[in-house]
């Protein structure tokens, strides 16, 4: 009887034909004093219980997202001859970094419904509700344009290498101006634009060593940190003066 129930439950579950097995070139990013950006190689394989289905194009989408923060987007307008900020839109949450890589054109590997559900493309990854300006789309577009100009938002269409419909890999370049936090790496497997499997993992990005120590001190012991900054400033000022005094003699 029990065996029958177990069988029924098992049969009721959707059979997962294709599954992602993942590897990362590094499982964390350490920001050191001479940090100058970092490459992350995301690679893996597609595990199958049965031979690959003949129908439907296989798509692999890799996204890497930094922590979400609210952003204020302001627009300038000419008032009395000078350019001033007039309208502003509060974007509720925008990732500080976002890269989306695919093995083919986005339109072909991802359907709109799945994009809407899983927030995969950049405009979908930005959450903006309750904008009181009529053309709030222009503000979100400006946010994407400015961040893309700083390499913070990247669209890497066709940058995922897919071999034999089994092995895939994608390289994502993290720029030097990174924010700390847990970066989420997501890998989606699609058939005809419909997602068949999803894999999520976190890549912690954090400061280490001196950078970590200074940051913590500034946050937790602000008075000590402020006094230390002043002491260094006074010492440097006095040191330079004394040094030049010696040089002149």
């Amino acid at each position: 009887m029990l065996r029958l129930i177990a069988f029924l439950i098992f049969a009721a579950l959707p059979a997962q034909a294709e599954e992602i097995v993942l590897g990362l070139s590094r499982d964390e990013v350490a920001i050191t004093a001479n940090f100058d950006g970092s490459d992350i190689l995301i690679f893996g394989a597609i595990k199958r219980e049965a031979p690959a289905p003949e129908t439907g194009d296989l798509g692999v989408i890799v996204t890497v997202a930094g922590p979400d923060h609210p952003v204020t987007v302001r627009r300038k307008d000419r008032r009395l001859g000078i350019w001033v900020n007039t309208d502003a839109v509060e974007v509720d949450a925008a990732p500080s970094f976002y890269a989306v890589a695919t093995n083919g054109p986005l339109r072909e590997v991802l359907s709109d419904t799945e994009d809407l559900r899983h927030h995969i493309t950049i405009p979908r990854a930005i959450r903006s509700v309750g904008a009181e300006v009529a053309d709030s789309r222009a503000f979100t577009q400006a946010l994407i344009r400015i961040r893309a100009g700083n390499d913070l938002y990247q669209v890497l269409e066709g940058e995922v290498d897919l071999e034999e419909e089994t092995l895939f890999r994608a390289a994502v370049q993290l720029p030097a101006n990174l924010t700390e936090g847990d970066y989420a790496a997501r890998i989606f497997l699609t058939r005809n634009g419909e997602i068949v499997d999803e894999y999520v993992t976190a890549i912690p990005v954090h400061k280490v060593g001196l950078e970590r120590w200074l940051y913590n001190l500034a946050r937790n012991n602000a008075v000590v940190y402020g006094l230390m900054s002043l002491a260094i400033a006074i010492a440097a000022g006095w040191g330079a003066s004394a040094l030049f005094g010696l040089l002149r003699r």
Binding site: D77, W83, V84, Y225, S229, A236, S241
Partner: protein, 305 residues
């Protein structure tokens, strides 16, 4: 050599920062201005977040002013008594200024106010100084090199609470220096600078102090006002980046020493006309930015204003 700044959270070239610090340091030593009105916009330009730039700049000014004032102490060109009176006004003023700044920030448009403040004050002061020093040079040429002694008696000399300022050779009321201190303090807090470029002309033209004493005294006062500002920023906004400050101040203090020595070999009128031109150039650049159509109409700020 790229270096990652822990508080600003950006990566910048260390030598670029050293060079910027050095250049601004030379000007600071020559004219007795902290150099904040030049450095703060330059830091924005290389991509340091504005809040971090303003706060860190205050810390850097402490270093370059301290280095500069030591050289002036050796030459006995610091009026400690006047400096203290100005400082009392300055601390009151910067407290008021920060309150005003926060109030305006709650209304929005604080950036515009800061920019307009820069354009208006730099413009007025630069133009006045330029005309005045040009006249002084012309007069000294006509008189065959003899500099006429200026001893004007205006309303400033008829106020109560008179005090003797021996180093400056003045016997005036403490009210005008106190008011100058307050005004400079308010503007310094709003504009995120030491305020030397406002203080120096105010001391020369309003208080009638001799130019040689003005520079040292202004530096003396700036040290304390900027130290106060640094502490305020460090404890309330956590925006002082010590790594950025160290890089800037290493260049800055060396520059200030060189600048002070250049300043000694120049005539007061020449010094003033150069400062006037510098002030006008920065003013022109900022005014230009307000008038021309920007290439990017949109800008990003941190959420929640």
């Amino acid at each position: 050599m790229q270096i990652y700044l822990p508080i600003a959270e950006v990566s910048v070239n260390a030598f670029l920062l050293l060079g910027l610090g050095g250049m601004v340091g030379i000007l600071s030593g020559m004219f007795g201005v902290g150099g904040g009105f030049l450095m703060t916009p330059l830091l924005f330009f290389i991509g340091i977040p504005p809040a971090v730039a303003v706060a860190t700049e205050a810390n850097q000014i402490v270093a370059s002013s301290f280095s500069g004032v030591l050289a002036h102490f050796k030459r006995r060109t610091v009026d400690l008594r006047m400096g203290t009176v100005l400082l009392v006004g300055g601390l009151v003023g910067s407290g008021l200024g920060i309150m005003l700044f926060n109030y305006l920030r709650s209304l929005g448009q604080v950036e515009l106010l800061v920019q307009l403040c820069y354009v208006i004050f730099l413009g007025i002061i630069g133009a006045l100084m330029f005309v005045e020093s040009l006249n002084a040079i012309r007069k000294s040429k006509k008189a065959g090199g003899a500099v006429p002694t200026r001893r004007r008696h205006n309303w400033v000399h008829n106020l109560p609470f008179k005090m003797k300022f021996r180093v400056s050779g003045l016997y005036i009321s403490v009210i005008p220096p106190l008011l100058v201190g307050v005004l400079v303090g308010v503007l310094a807090a709003i504009m995120g600078v030491g305020g030397g470029f406002i203080m120096v002309p105010a001391m020369i033209y309003l208080l009638g102090m001799p130019t040689k004493v003005v520079v040292g005294t202004s530096l003396f006062q700036i040290i304390f006002v900027t130290a106060f500002t640094t502490m305020l920023h460090a404890t309330t906004n956590f925006t002082v980046d010590i790594v950025l400050a160290v890089l800037l101040l290493v260049g800055g203090v060396i520059g200030a020493q060189i600048g002070t020595r250049i300043g000694v070999h120049m005539k007061a009128e020449q010094l003033r006309i150069l400062l006037a031109m510098l002030v006008l150039a920065v003013c022109g650049k900022l005014a230009f930015d307000l008038l021309i159509t920007p290439s990017e109409l949109y800008s990003l700020g941190t959420g929640g204003h």
